[in-house]
């Protein structure tokens, strides 16, 4: 059941990325180009996503198990640390260079051929190298 729901929500998530325009680096870079011909379109993606997800987090905070009986524990809100700051800055640099973040990178594997596989391969290498050289303190959830 967990596998089926995960697949279903993977498809819905991917459709959302496709419909919203997040798969197009031109739009992403146009959104990030505040000093140039700024395209505000993608601000609506995060707005719509938070609007839909926020109530679920309110519900989740009052529960210890999910609707399927799985354990439910939300990620820690604190503390801020150097690792978070440095990592987010490096991610921002990479996102600003190519206009692709991890979700779209995975969907594009099915749509964009070789360039998508090159980007995703490098991204995976980066993930695994950082994971090996600088393991997280705790278990390291999915975030």
């Amino acid at each position: 059941m967990r596998v089926l729901t995960a697949a279903l929500f993977g498809v819905i998530f991917g459709l959302g990325l496709l419909i919203s325009g997040m798969l197009d680096p031109d739009k992403v870079l146009g959104f990030l180009d505040v000093a140039g011909a700024w395209n505000p379109q993608l601000a609506f993606v995060m707005g719509g996503a938070i609007l839909a997800a926020f109530p679920a987090f309110l519900i989740a905070r009052r529960r210890t198990t999910t609707l399927l009986g799985e354990p439910l524990k939300l990620p820690d809100r604190w503390p801020l640390d150097r690792r978070l700051v440095i990592g987010s800055a490096l991610f921002g640099a990479g996102w600003g260079l190519a206009g692709v973040c991890p979700g779209p990178a995975i969907v594009l594997l099915g749509l964009a051929g070789a360039p998508a596989w090159i980007f995703a391969g490098a991204m995976l290498a980066g993930l695994l190298v950082a994971r090996t050289l600088a393991p997280a303190r705790a278990g390291g959830g999915d975030n």
Binding site: V3, A7, G10, I12, F13, G14, L15, G16, L17, I19, S20, D24, P25, L29, L32, G36, Q41, L42, V45, M46, A52, A53, A56, F57, A60, T66, P71, D76, R77, W78, L84, V85, I86, G87, S88, A89, G94, W95, G96, L97, A98, P102, G103, A105, I106, V107, L108, G110, L111, A112, G113, A116, G121, A122, M123, L124, A125, L128, V129, N143
Partner: protein, 143 residues
Amino acid sequence: MHPFLQSLIGGGLIGLASAGLLLTNGRIAGISGILSNAAALRPGLWRWAFLAGLVSVGVAAAWLRHPAPPALAASGTPLLIAAGLLVGVGTQLGNGCTSGHGVCGLSNLSARSLTATAIFMAVAGLTVFVTRHGGGLLAMVRP
């Protein structure tokens, strides 16, 4: 349909999928974390199912003759590799990307995610500024 509305709806689907994964599987729909833990072979077939769901949208879009975004190939291999490595290392260190921090973390009212999102947005914007308008700055310094 107006592009802003389309992005809002697409974003809504992303948020809906994140809400669904949280309330059924008790998991955060953070793509970098799911990918990293799947690649490190942590137990949990659901991660592969979710990723397969994402890829299947790309495959279906290609099958329906949806064009691949031309900007991806236009980046060129060296830039795609550099950007991919930065995104991979950065999201692993920072424990999340646009989905994990930007959508789920903000919906969770997390200070960590607010900090991460502010930093990766700012650095991505700065990166685009330098790559798109930096030439003009250089010309002013060194005419």
